[in-house]
Symmetry: D2
Subunit: 291 residues, 4 copies
């Protein structure tokens, strides 16, 4: 039943809500640059980057390093170098979900069959390689500021919270916006010994749909799932199911939003670009806010 954005940009479309961003939106977003301040919204990536239990983290291997030279490695022409390889889960740290990442009823966004994603080559449809760069108006909805502090785990952020936060930021959420929600979860986790992924503050489905109806292009947050955990009874990742699959809205997770919040500019030029892993279901990403 729910195919809210299917066919809106043609039967073969694999970019979904990113189509809401046209050149006019980009021009207008470029005009938001004032101070020339550039902020990264990405977590560092390392074997210490937190992952849910029973999932593997990053492994980082040096193929050549300074120790090799200390131990006597040759230096033809004086040249010395270091290089490395990572074993990198694509949904780790600050990352974006491709439209092939989540679905229901065997159909992805725009009706492509889920069975088109297989072991060899990954997703034939809606892979992260189809997403392309994301440039547009970023909007920060700072729920921490609204609530006066990081939200306790399990706190539901509803549509009314989003409306209040938008009003406080002096922004009207609209077509093509890249909306970033600050819950304070990551900032709060940093103070703990061990990161828990079992519960977190986040959006309920109503809030997600409120944004989808405003035709946003991307939804991001500083928690790990955008949506509230635990889920509403009887549902599993309802915001993922509806926003990714039915509206074609990519989710951007694990953002670092404290410095952006401190800068006090509710709308800004946003730029991010996933690694175009062919058939990939997502990508670690280092988004930029240009103020």
């Amino acid at each position: 039943m729910s195919r809210d954005a299917w066919n809106r940009w043609g039967e073969q479309d694999e970019r979904g809500a990113l189509n809401h961003i046209g050149s006019a939106q980009v021009q207008s977003a470029a005009g938001l640059v004032r101070s020339g301040t550039v902020l990264t919204l990405a977590q560092p990536l390392s074997p210490r980057t937190p992952v849910p239990r029973h999932r593997a983290g990053i492994q980082h291997f040096m193929g050549r390093d300074g120790g090799d030279y200390a131990a006597g490695a040759r230096k033809p022409g004086g040249f010395q170098f270091a290089e490395d390889t990572v074993v990198l889960p694509l949904h780790i740290g600050t990352h974006i979900d491709a439209l092939c990442h989540a679905w229901y009823d065997e159909a992805l966004y725009n009706g492509f069959p889920g069975s088109g994603t297989r072991s060899t080559g990954g997703a034939t449809r809606c892979g992260i390689d189809k997403m392309g760069p994301i440039v547009g108006r970023g909007v920060l909805l700072d729920i921490v500021a609204q609530r006066g502090g990081p939200l306790p785990d399990g706190t539901v952020i509803g549509a009314a919270d989003l409306e209040r936060a938008a009003k406080a930021a002096g922004v009207t959420v609209g077509t093509g916006d890249i909306v970033l929600i600050r819950t304070g979860w990551a900032e709060d986790q940093a103070r703990r010994d061990m990161v828990s992924f079992d519960t977190e503050p986040g959006l309920d489905l109503e809030a997600g749909l409120w944004l989808a109806e405003r035709e946003i292009a991307v939804l991001g947050a500083d928690n790990f799932a955008v949506e509230v955990v635990p889920f509403a009874p009887g549902t599993v990742f309802p915001v993922h199911q509806r926003l990714i699959r039915d509206f074609g809205i990519p989710l951007l997770e694990g953002l670092v939003l404290r410095d952006l919040a401190a800068a006090g500019q509710g709308a800004f030029l946003f730029a991010a670009s996933p690694l175009p892993v062919v058939g990939g279901t997502g990508s670690p990403i280092s988004p930029i806010a240009i103020l």
Copy 2:
């Protein structure tokens, strides 16, 4: 001997020539946006991404895919998902070299010891996690247009070529610029059965120094080493040695520049942001040109 930029930004600096980009440069670069067109400059990443012989390519593994559901995997709450992991060399496809990537005489940029890069944790100094986002004025120097076609393998691009190309673009290369060189190598390789890394057109050292003296922030190209291969007799990666280590200029390799060249805009807003792998020596990257 050669420590052209060492200490310029303090003894502890790990960002090198990126310090040439201040907020004024960012503001000014944002003003270059005209049509609102957004281009990616990145190659797709897959097991087919070419690598030099005897180096390993990417491996892409699906941890969950549509086939699992076709085979009967459970769907709690109707939720279906796919996820994946890559084994990813950090210097593959379109990527940027961190300042710890290349050095000589046991010292990295700014005098940090090469022995600070070890197996565990990688680079303690000048890792890719220290680089941060790159936003500024992009400048395209289209040598292919100058020469009337892709350059034959081994062709030297000298300072005079760069001057001519800048003039043709109506641009004066200056402080904080992100300079992109189009050699046509990648476009030419795409027409061959197998990519050769043994020889390619690229900059000679004089051309590299010409750019360094103009205080550019980043140097990129559409070949795999920026500099010409084979190297000048008796030298090995001379441009890497001098620009990265002595001037702190990161090299951006494997760019896709054909569409940017076709757009005919010599200066534009450039944005790119490496994965902040702690201690990493580089990062695959998906740079954006905003026209």
Copy 3:
């Protein structure tokens, strides 16, 4: 249709023809030890281990090495160590195929559904972890000696060849035998610049069935597929299909048999033990001949 060994050892059996080896066979095989000579039948494993085109080879990463100490790493209590990690395809070099590795008509050996092998956890049935150690009478059928030299690529080894080789070895192939076929392919490849996997000498289906009917436990060879390549017209891996899936006979590939052949002992104590990767479809293995 073809279910030659299904249910022979019960509906839940996952060990197939290895059930042909009972304690009597082990006792008897131990009695074959004469000189006390021990030979390995395994290739070295490294990034240079040949693999078919478009398949990935081994990657070997050092997590700690002597270079780190040369560069100044701490040595608490004087202790120094080195450790490493491999990215290891399970069907590489000298390896054994688990009974879940090959099948047809959606059913594995003993009728288990092919759909029981999925991304998470691999094979629920007939994984390499169900195989256990292999100890019994090894029999070398030296076709190279029969033919007077390594067999040209594409040469068919038929049942008559096996009979002749068994006669020459003074052995009657029988229940529970671990039969090793020397084609000379690997020895011949070692003399070439690049290993070709497109064609090789090996068994035809008739020869494979001849062995299966003699109730052997394991079939091995010094080529990469045991069977002849190219396959008989209209067939793809017919020996794999029938022997693994219908007879439950594991295939042991990539053996090194020259020294064993030179030893001139046709029957010997054989011991090998796969890595018990839970749900794995095979394992690199280092078989031993004890003469």
Copy 4:
């Protein structure tokens, strides 16, 4: 200082105490086979295989599986297959340490420099590829039986314990023996929620030296370090340092010994064969006891 076995088998020797096993020992060990019972002494390998905190476990990726066929993958000639790749730390589960794994004073066994082990290619000396197969007399010293149950964490096993256990087994430990120590640690850990590697029962240095002086070939145990943890004050892995580096005795860790103990046969034919990873510092291994 301590070079107890250096030069004993020549300046270029890389096999150490394994040289204690000659063909006479193998012949004699083969004569220990009675019932023809074959036991594996290996743990299963999977992402659940316990590892010390902050070390990475195994990752197991399917490159092709039954789900792909369920989703419609082609089956040329009817052939279906599954294959997989593991990211495999070489010191995990049941594994053997190569002689390059541990050292002190910058020198490995037989005086080879520690600096010969580097990022590229690993160990040039004493790598696991130099070890070869291990076949000989296995001896089980069952300390659990001696003490009447699994040893509490941190319990020291001394030389007197070994003597008593040998006596109970009716065995005199001697030249070329492969000695396996049962501490009960693994069996005890299996009953806990989470495996702790911070403390375990094991040998003290005196016990290790007692065995070394008896000219054993290999020392194994069912714990993760063979030696007691915590170490004696002021020492770090003293048994590793002395036995591996000074006596050339490989350590075999993480054995599964319960079934072997239950079988009640103190001496048996032992066979194991590491993966010959070129330059590797160890190997997961699946040892076999043949009773």
